[in-house]
């Protein structure tokens, strides 16, 4: 393996080049330069494939890595070292990730050239798409948290632009703003964590952090009373939560489908949302050291289950997929939390494949029939056989049906979760993690098949609808009922080939080497679980006293030459005190349970939406349904309560008070809060309002207002005074 920068950098630079050319000259190019973007991603893919083959088809070694650095700037003066290195860090995980990102991005680009054809935003779309991909590739390549953060923010900006690409639509604008602002909350914490690490370690390079963990540099350091490792791990995980749309910060992701569907596919599948999981995986030793893995697991489990419940009542096909993304991200995060490092990363990859395929299929449907409300679809199987095939394969995968990739990865996570929750001797409260996980798995199977059945099976409800209300003007044109006739789908290279290619890789065989991923069903006689072998949590001791390879040098180390190179196999579980026997037991139980649960979910969906023998639960439990349709009122809570009533209200609070609108504030504001509490929990309503409500809360909020109103005065001179005061206090802290 002879690596120079020249063999790695094009992965990142080719899309950037395409971005620059498209940004400035895109309008002048034929087809507005979409072929250029696609070509650039293909170049990335070729280079990634080369790296992948080097890493994977070389000898199995888990701890081989390529790390090239150059000095970005050096402000060292005498004894004070102030130097920032940038570089490339490549290991097995990065190699797999690169191949996944570039491959899926290439297929999405290819699909987009069909999907965005004759769209008014065609050119602009192909400006941001390669930049987005390049940022993700750069993030995967980067060797430190600092450059990771830079690419992270570029991705944030690109997602903002892609979601709001139809900037004439107000909803799209709102959604993009929401995505941007919500992820910003997490990013602040991420930056805080990075700065904290920098302050203590003087470096944010992964290998330095690993080495510091191994050398025990974190021991005894505290920040604000809590241990430093916990603090930084928590900050970084909060950043990951924003990007990966975990439970309290998840609200942006469902709205992110406002953009074109291929853009959603890229955001949801291959790039942006996996960034959070990626940083959590990279910083896994820190998470373990900071002892927040249980927190990660709980957050993941809550997200996995909560999003799955919401997905069961959504009617928009893209919304179902969006919530399923949320749910699957929850599984990934849960997997990291329960110590299933390998399986969590595997789920990133498998999920990327089938979710990309699902979104592209949805795009294919939407583009063909111009309808995305599932109750208005149905019976599309006859018209769109290829799409149906691809989507069915992916649905089987995501539902966790054996022989498909989703089963392999999710089953391992659930098995580890089972161990984590019941057998590892942890806090019994943590049993909620596997319970929520399994419940979510069942729901996943249910809602995915609900979507399939509503969309592709049954009778075509589109014509009925148009017959119903379009009767008047239909006569003039006869057959043109709704302005658009469903055409029989033909095999189109750009439309169907990406779908079919992706659907091939939904088979679990590609990832596990066996049919099911479990030991029963060996195909080649011996287990070739390359994935399990290659990816494992970084062993921090390896990085003590590591030496860096200078930028531009040829790295001709062979894996066999490495002192650490050995066939290393360990269980998926990397948490504390693994007990192999118990783990094995947990996995067996988990596999059986998840198969049963998945099939029962599918069967339920079949009964409800094909046979119609069971009344859909949506009608039975209307109270819960309302709650679910309103997504647990999170959006309402954030926008109405936190932002409108809270943030803006705080500004004007005292003015209201003065003008005697105290009553109005209390009644209206509290009513808004009420509506949330009311519907979320009906039995709760008559008890609290009069007692605590009007007076107590109002006064408390107003007191808080008083502070915030002063701070948020909007007067520049006041801000300037604050600036000077901060400067003065900074000087004092410097002095003493």
């Amino acid at each position: 393996m002879e690596y120079t920068v020249g063999s790695i950098a094009p992965i990142f630079l080719a899309p950037v080049l395409a971005f620059i050319i498209n940004a400035f000259f895109g309008r002048k190019l034929p087809r507005q330069g979409d072929w250029l973007a696609t070509l650039s991603i293909f170049i990335s893919f070729i280079f990634s494939a080369r790296i992948f083959s080097d890493f994977v088809f070389g000898k199995f070694a888990t701890d081989f890595y390529v790390h090239k650095t150059f000095t970005w700037f050096d402000l060292s003066h005498a004894s004070a070292v102030w130097k920032v290195d940038m570089g490339i860090y490549l290991d097995n995980m990065a190699a797999i990730m690169l191949l996944m990102v570039s491959g899926i991005a290439f297929l999405i680009h290819l699909f987009s050239t069909w999907y965005m054809d004759h769209d008014e935003k065609h050119g602009r779309f192909f400006v941001f798409l390669p930049l987005f991909t390049s940022a993700m590739l750069g993030m995967v390549l980067s060797d430190n948290l600092f450059s990771l953060f830079i690419f992270w923010e570029i991705m944030g900006f690109c997602s903002y632009s892609l979601i709001g690409i139809y900037n004439k639509k107000e909803k799209a604008g709102d959604a993009s703003l929401k995505a941007f602002m919500t992820t910003r909350v997490g990013d602040v914490f991420l930056l805080l964590g990075i700065v904290a690490l920098w302050m203590v370690l003087g470096s944010v390079t992964y290998v330095d952090i690993y080495a510091a963990i191994a050398e025990g540099k974190f021991a005894g350091q505290t920040v604000m009373g809590i241990s430093f490792a916990t603090f930084t791990a928590l900050c970084i995980f909060l950043g990951a939560m924003g990007k990966s749309a975990q439970f309290p910060l998840h609200v942006w992701l469902p709205d992110a489908m406002m953009g074109p569907t291929p853009g959603s596919a890229l955001i949801h599948a291959a790039t942006m949302v996996t960034a959070g999981v990626w940083v959590t995986l990279r910083m896994y030793p820190l998470m373990v050291l900071g002892d927040i893995t249980w927190f990660i697991a709980v957050i993941g489990a809550i997200t996995a289950f909560g999003a799955a419940t919401i997905a069961t009542v959504q009617t928009d096909i893209k919304a179902v997929l969006a919530y399923s993304t949320l749910s699957q991200l929850g599984y990934m995060i849960m997997g990291v939390g329960v110590g299933s490092y390998n399986a969590a990363f595997m789920h990133v990859i498998t999920h990327a494949v089938f979710k990309a395929c699902l979104f592209l299929s949805a795009g294919s449907i939407i583009h063909t029939v111009h309808e995305q409300e599932m109750p208005k679809l149905g019976g599309l199987r006859k018209y769109m056989p290829y799409t149906h095939f691809a989507m069915m394969a992916c649905t089987l995968a995501i539902a966790g049906i054996p022989f498909f990739s989703g089963f392999v990865s999710k089953d391992r996570i659930l098995g580890d979760a089972l161990y984590f929750g019941f057998m590892a001797g942890q806090n019994p409260m943590l049993a909620i993690v596997p319970i929520l996980g399994f419940a979510g798995a069942g729901l996943t199977a249910f809602y995915m098949f609900r979507m399939m059945f509503l969309t592709f099976y049954g009778e075509n409800r589109m014509h009925h609808d148009s017959h119903g209300h379009g009767h008047g003007h239909k006569d003039a044109h006869g057959h043109e009922s709704h302005g658009h006739e469903i055409h029989q789908e033909h095999l189109d290279v750009r439309q169907n080939v990406p779908l079919l290619l992706l659907s091939i890789f939904t088979l679990g065989f590609w990832f596990a080497g066996t049919l099911t991923g479990q030991s029963f069903g060996k195909v080649f006689g011996k287990k070739v679980e390359w994935f399990k072998v290659l990816v494992e949590a970084p062993r921090v001791e390896q990085f003590v006293g590591h030496n860096r390879q200078p930028w531009g040098s040829v790295d001709s180390r062979d894996k066999t030459e490495l002192p650490h190179a050995h066939y290393h196999h360990q269980s998926g579980y990397a948490g504390p005190n693994p007990d192999d026997h118990k783990i094995h037991k947990a996995h067996t139980i988990g596999a059986i349970a998840s198969i049963i649960i998945a099939f029962s979910g599918v069967f339920l969906a079949f009964l409800m939406y094909i046979q119609h023998t069971v009344k859909p639960w949506a009608d039975t439990f209307s109270g819960i349904t309302t709650t679910l349709q309103n997504k647990y009122y999170f959006d309402k809570f954030y926008i109405d309560v936190l932002i409108k009533k809270g943030l803006l209200g705080l500004n004007r609070g005292l003015a209201w008070f003065d003008m005697g609108v105290y009553d109005r504030f209390a009644v209206d504001g509290w009513a808004a809060v009420n509506r949330v509490l009311f519907t979320a929990s009906r039995w709760f309503d008559n008890v609290v309002i009069d007692a605590i409500g009007v007076d107590g809360t109002g006064v408390a909020v107003n007191l808080f207002n008083l502070v915030l109103r002063i701070v948020q005065s909007g007067k520049i001179q006041f801000y300037f005074i604050m600036l000077i005061m901060v400067l003065v206090s900074y000087i004092w802290t410097l002095k003493f």
Binding site: R652, K715, I716, Q717, F720, I724
Partner: protein, 101 residues
């Protein structure tokens, strides 16, 4: 009389004068005057350190670029003030509340 301390003191006085102008005045043009004073204070510091501490000309370069930036800042700032006046018919800084809510 001529030493590092006296230059630092003069630049401090300049800075404080700019500070007072910036905080006390409500006329946006006057606030820009204050900014110029503050920029000059910092530039003076750079040159003084360059003469008395480092003995190279990097401080000169720095203050040169401070002057350049000050010019650009004044040009854009005053353009904004003029436009603001055309819209609001005042240059009172507290009237600039369009973006407040």
């Amino acid at each position: 009389m001529m030493g590092l301390a006296s230059y630092l003191l003069i630049s401090l006085i300049l800075f404080v004068a700019g500070l007072v102008v910036m905080i006390a005045r409500k006329n946006i043009v006057a606030i820009l005057l204050g900014i110029e004073l503050i920029l000059n204070a910092s530039a003076l510091n750079f040159v003084a350190y360059s003469r008395y501490v480092t003995n190279n000309l990097d401080g000169h370069i720095f203050s040169l670029f401070i002057i350049v930036v000050a010019a650009a800042e004044a040009a854009v700032g005053l353009a904004i003030v003029i436009r603001f006046f055309q819209i609001k018919e005042t240059v009172h800084v507290d009237e600039a509340t369009q973006l407040r809510n």
